[in-house]
Amino acid sequence: MSAVLHAEGLTVELPGGRAAVDDVSIAVGPGEILGLVGESGSGKTTLALALLGYTRPGCRIVAGSVEAAGMRLTGLDEAEARSHRGRVVSYVPQDPASALNPSLRVGDSVGDVAREHGGGAGRGGVLQALGRVHLPADAAFARRYPHELSGGQQQRVTIATALVCEPAVVVMDEPTTGLDVVTQARILEEVERLRSERGIAVVYVSHDLSVVASIADRVAVMYEGRIVEEGDVTQVITRPRHEYTQRLVASIPRLVERRPERTEAGTAILSVDDLGAAHGRVPVVDDVSFEVERGACLAIVGESGSGKTTIARCVAGLHSPSAGAILLAGEQLAPRARSRTRHQRRQLQIVFQNPYDSLNPRRRIRDEIARPARLLRGLSAADAEAEVARLLERVRLPSRLADRFPGELSGGERQRVAIARALAAGPELLVCDEITSALDVSVQAAVLELLQELRAELGLSLLFISHDLAVVGTVADDVLVLESGRVRERGSTTQVLSSPQDDYTRRLLEAAPSLPAP
């Protein structure tokens, strides 16, 4: 098979002179999907861009070459290189919401690329490109703005843009990260169809090995700028050779995991009765009831927009419910956190989804963790200081981090700090709102492990919000499946995941990418 994309000894240096991509060689044949896997900072995106002969400002391709469809892409001047991009090889970026110009109609976004390359496809060409990725191929849709589209539709538009000039190679950089499983499954289907129908070579970049496993033919594992392992998907997953790959494979949560069944039912620490909530006039949660037993973990699962985060915010006192009651240890909670008693605020703590956002960038880790201890437990400065040291150790962070700012920490470290901050209040119930969805798979595994430890050692109860069934399978005792603000199914995790009763649950399960059994 002759390769349509060919990179040889590619090396990209960062401004400091460190090599982000170090002597990488890959080859992709027509109609082949190469998965490129690695954690944050492994150089995936830098490599993906370099495959188009492009680097971020300050970075330089210092050695090696890239050839696509017989055309050399490296060592060209900018104008020449630009004329190949989009026509010979094109790029689908990670975050469709920021990749599309918000002030440009989607038809124009697609059309501009065609015009730039003298395609002159005209309106017909644009509509055809939209139709090709299963978007409505009509003028009304082309006149919409990106904000009028769902996340999945936005990503289809970026794919349509990448395909409009019929390139031989498409480089996709985490195209489904941040989309929910159902949307992700549809996008993956789309990619699969495009390669089989049009014989396009695809480089599919992701940190998620299970996603890559479900779509790629071959997989290349990237670690610290180098390709440490490459081969057939099944082979890499079932018999990983490199130590990093082995860790990566081991850290992926399996959909249904053996777990000891709980024997007796405890008392409820949290009960939610007939909860209703709305954003403005739009109802998002309707008549939802559930209980979290002491020491247990209840997961709420659903797609984005299903209302699961709103439920978490209602429980945490950040969103006022429109109906129903929330009871903590039998006492009714006020809708607003501020109106709750100090004891109630202590008992119930929340950890947020995005660790890049939930820590004050201007506050040292020490102060961030000490604050709830002082405010809610009334500890003295000296006692709070000792508590910080204890909590950092508890979440397995070195004590020297206490003097750092959040910007100096990795995503996983930040999420541990956020957990430590919640623990500083001495809670009995922890509300975890998608706490691993912004993290790499390997980091996610470590955070989940920490949660399990905390549950065992502190007897914490958890309300665990997630869109990821595999993650839920590893942590939760019971599951509540939510669709459009209504409960579709509930039961023990094993029961719901292995024999789902509801159609919607079944669809969620089918959409979830998983690894072939080892």
Binding site: E174, L318, R345, Q349, F352, Y356, S358, L375, L376, A418
Partner: protein
């Protein structure tokens, strides 16, 4: 180097600080080293530079150098005080409006718009005419003109920050509004303030100088850089230094303030930007 001064490590920051310190030293200690009285004539008007008067004389024959050395205090004090006052009001209004989800925001901001709709100079002139020209009136007037602008900028910065996770986390543990504003939001809008303060100060200096130029602010024989420009402009071809010297000082002051503001904003901004770019 203490953290607060790290901005001075950048080229812009270092030059800005050096120039600013120079101008402030001139303004503060100038009167002690001035060779002549700023008020008494020492020669004929608009004389060129000589050994006696290094920068020549002004329209009344007074020593330009001595008047430059005396004339910085009023500009810096008036402009500085008015910006301080504008920020005291603007920060409170902007934070409250930006964090509030109720009626407070539209009420505060529409009032600010009313103030904004008045032409700045006209507003000042009316104020000076009505209340007489005193330093207090000047400071309050300039502050009132700047306050709505400050409030708008602080409000939008506050709005951006107030939806972030750490603010929600503070709300969830039941922090008082004052603690949320002061501990969580304020430190995160410092880059905005740093970038804005230079601009405000420049604008205040120009406003004060303009009012002085129109003869409605400080009254002769006060030495003031703004006043000097207006007094001596008729003799520009006879002794250009009488205008150029105070103009240069005003320019150095505003440029230095802006450079420092930029450097602070950039340094604060960089450390505040999340290392959130995922590969």
């Amino acid at each position: 180097m203490p953290e607060a001064l790290r901005f001075a490590r950048s080229g812009t920051g270092a030059v800005g600080v050096a120039v600013l310190v120079f101008v402030l030293l001139v303004a503060l200690f100038g009167p002690f080293v001035a060779p002549h009285s700023p008020a008494r004539p020492i020669g004929i008007p608009y004389e060129g530079p000589s050994a006696e008067a290094l920068l020549g004389t002004d329209f009344l024959g007074r020593d330009v150098l001595s008047r430059v050395l005396w004339g910085g205090r009023s500009v810096i004090a008036l402009a500085g005080l008015s910006v301080l006052l504008a920020y005291a009001g603007g920060l409170a209004v902007g934070l409250a409006a930006g964090y509030s989800r109720g009626l407070l925001d539209p009420i505060l901001m529409r009032s600010a718009d009313v103030l904004l709709s008045l032409p700045a100079l006209l507003f000042l002139l009316v104020l000076v005419t009505g209340l007489g020209s005193s330093r207090t009136v000047l400071v309050v007037g300039v502050a009132l003109i700047q306050m709505p602008l400050v409030a708008r900028i602080i409000r939008s910065a506050t709005q951006t920050q107030s939806v972030r996770g750490f603010v929600e986390a503070a709300a969830a543990r039941g922090e008082r509004t004052s603690a949320i504003l002061g501990r969580e939001l304020l430190p995160n809008i410092v880059p905005t303030i740093a970038a804005d303060v230079g601009l405000r100060l420049t604008y205040a200096i120009i406003l004060v100088a303009s009012v002085n130029f129109l003869g409605l602010g400080l009254q002769p024989p006060d030495a003031d850089w703004g006043l000097m420009v207006s007094e001596n402009r008729s003799g520009l071809n006879l002794n250009p230094l009488a205008v150029l010297a105070p103009v240069t000082m005003i320019a150095l002051l505003t440029i230095a303030v802006n450079m420092v503001g930029d450097a602070v904003a950039r340094q604060q901004g960089v450390s505040a930007i999340e290392v959130g770019a995922r590969t």
